[in-house]
Symmetry: C2
Subunit: 458 residues, 2 copies
């Protein structure tokens, strides 16, 4: 029988994460502190535990995955690699399409790959409680799961409008024992100030970050830290287990090379996870294209300048060197909530600047069309974010058909859509629309970046 799924045993799971910072042809620019000078690692110590800060700045190629993390990973890892034979057939393509299925875990997306080690390293460092923010709730769920497994306290500031509109993700967090409260909240100074100025505020990710960071740094016992689910180097690092497993599985499938690697990008962590282990091959001269995909209504990689920018609206974070829509940008209300972030991981930005990654954008309707075709052939209902990677893969499979090429396409199936079905409802009713980039607002938002320090030329 033709094989359609390639699995690894628990013992075949990779024992180290791969750090692309060891192999970039030139080093990344440093983040900057409030004084405009390169940030010293110690300056992050009130926010993150030192063992994670060490990973953040490390240029070691391989970093060991602790045994206890491997054991927790084993709840759902290694994740399966599928050959999308039914989709290939539907497209009539000579391409061989593979997808790494990160939806197969209790939280439904790739996010636990970093939530688990982050919680673990915090615990090892003596931390008892972790705070974070969440928008739609994917990241909050992953961290709640991780803290539950490690018997740590977890507090999630959830953007108020999502808290009210998406009760199910909140219920998942509570089932894992986390405390989830709507932001802005009366529990922090920044929350109280915001509430007194705007009592009916729907909240924002920027606001929620401010609250979560404030709670972490103001705990006088020093036993609380903050955790971020994307963007930062150590988050990208942890996600590389995806691509490292995929390499082994492609070998099991008898594939000697990969021609296209595709992932969707919000902050960038699932894309980093699938692609960074292959980027090393690209740096070493392999003939492949690595394609990060974003929504055309939030074109962080395809239309935004490379700048120093804040990670949050409230300007509390260090300045990061990244492609950014500007931290004041208000993204259109696309259903792929995880792809609405204004910036993209500095590592991915660096890779784009070096020509390693070739970003691309798709409209919302094209992504839903791809998602429905995938669900009806391969059987799994994709998250709205994941649909962007599928749109990219289908495009590449069509090109391969036009060009008569037997290409090998690998994409990351970052999460299932079972908690995000409203977009499908609108799509079937013909009520889903595309959102063009709001050009005027984009110009204004970008203009703000000119007031910030400029990165050196590449």
């Amino acid at each position: 029988m033709e094989t359609t799924k390639f699995v690894l045993t628990e013992n075949e799971m990779p024992r180290q994460w791969y750090n692309l910072n060891a192999d970039f042809p030139k080093p990344m620019l440093p983040p900057l502190g409030p004084d405009g000078k390169p940030l010293a690692p110690e300056q992050l110590a009130p926010v993150f535990p030192m063992n994670l800060i060490e990973q953040e700045v490390s240029t070691d190629r391989w970093i060991d995955i602790p045994e206890e993390v491997l054991r927790m990973y084993a709840i759902y890892r290694p994740s399966p690699l599928h050959r999308a034979r039914a989709l290939e057939q539907a497209l009539g393509t000579p391409a061989r399409i593979y997808y790494k299925n990160e939806s197969v875990n209790p939280a439904g997306s790739h996010k636990p790959n970093t939530a688990i080690p982050q919680a673990y390293f915090n615990k090892v460092f003596g931390i008892k409680k972790i705070t974070t923010e969440t928008g739609a709730g994917q990241w909050g769920c992953a961290l709640a799961l991780a803290c539950s497994l490690l018997k740590m306290e977890c507090k999630v500031y959830m953007v108020r409008i999502s808290f009210e509109q998406k009760p199910f993700r909140r219920l998942m967090m509570e089932t894992w024992g986390a405390k989830c409260i709507p932001s802005p909240s009366p529990e922090t100074n920044s929350g109280r100030k915001f509430l007194s100025d705007f009592p009916d505020a729907p909240g924002s990710l920027g606001m929620a970050i401010s609250e979560a960071v404030e709670e972490a740094v103001s705990d006088s016992t020093g036993k609380t830290r903050y955790s971020l689910g994307s963007v930062l180097n150590h988050v990208m690092l942890h996600q590389t287990i995806i691509g490292l497993e995929a390499k082994k599985q492609l070998a099991l499938a008898g594939e000697k090379k990969v021609d296209r690697i595709i992932g969707c990008v919000g902050g960038g962590s699932n894309f980093a996870g699938i692609s960074f282990p292959f980027a090393l091959d690209l740096i070493n001269g392999a003939d492949m294209e690595i394609i990060p995909v974003e929504p055309s209504s939030c074109p962080t990689m395809t239309r935004s300048p490379f700048s120093y920018d804040f990670g949050d609206t409230a300007e509390m974070t260090p300045l990061l060197p990244m492609h950014s829509l500007g931290h004041m940008f208000m993204p259109p209300p696309i259903h792929a909530g995880g792809l609405r972030y204004h910036g993209v991981s500095p590592m991915i930005s660096h890779g784009i600047n070096l020509g390693l990654f070739k970003p691309r954008s798709y409209d919302q309707l094209d992504c839903y069309e791809a998602a429905v075709q995938f669900a009806r052939t391969e059987g799994i209902i994709p998250a709205p974010e994941t649909s962007h990677a599928i749109a990219g893969a289908i495009d590449e499979a069509r090109k391969a058909k036009e060009e008569g090429k037997e290409r090998v396409i690998l994409f990351n199936f970052s999460g299932h859509g079972l908690m995000d079905l409203r977009g499908y409802d609108l799509y079937f009713r013909g009520e889903l629309v595309n959102y063009p980039l709001p050009e005027e607002e984009f110009k204004k938002s970008i203009a703000v970046l000119n007031k910030l320090p400029k990165p050196a030329k590449y």
Copy 2:
């Protein structure tokens, strides 16, 4: 490293289903037709395709799984077997607890294990369209998925009150291309009659069955059939892939014997799936207990008589020999919607009568307590139905601790709870209650059975 998960490759998937009807120490009683006489297989031909009817009445021990079914199974099978080390530790038990994880598939429960072969055998028989009913939506989703993979039409009559209260399962069905309509509907004679008598009817499973069967048998082209997701022999047969895989995986785990096998029971299919392949060992003298678990508010196995009864409220089905609460019984509104059915599979009923299975019941609150403990140790949020199996497994692990025995406990994790989080919400708020069996109504409901033909004594 200690292994916590045991996986099989696609090529190690079992190639045959196991039929317990080949090995029962005495044969089952036959179903009866409307005339009170044993039903001839041909009498079912307007409802089911002949190839499935052959499986329904077969006494062959092994029945081949077609290659195409294996290929579709490979989307999510073989499913993982987990050792519940974190739960064991929390309980301080010397027992080794294993669970078969049937939540890892696109529909989220074990139901596709029979939906896929049922759709396949219908297609092979020349059928173009399959009708069914669904309550909470688990079964409707599974059949929608299967029909999508096989490019067949699928129409699901969903109990109106669930249709309105649970839009997400309907959206899953629509994403897979099925037509899902609220029952009673204006599309069938029985639906129209019911609607004109009771315009505001919330609907019932019995009503929805009547509509789905009517649509199937009244298609003049003969290209439509009906499909049932539990109770019948061929459904139990298809689910045995669960237990057959678990046997191989327990061997990988180094276990030479199993002491307890546990599954939750509504119609009985997931319990049959995990336990039937082991029941053969029990028949051959193995020292083990096989424990089907049900809600104490719907005590089909633990308190109801073994009778001939209809499968539906409208008395359209053949009479089946089974333990039954009576087909007019209105179950209390427990959250485990899939365990509210009035009857239990004739094969399981037969096994109980023969002393092979030792049924047990639990209250709703105890099940939620078990579910939360499981979610916070093993990480996966259980479906309300599945929580009954967990309650049983935890009880057995505690007994093993009290008795100082190193027992091996296997239970079936039949589905995740991501689409059924409301019960958890009520539980955390302290608003969830136990429902005692409504004794007066139960007496009346049982009394109806006395008017039906009596099964022969065992």
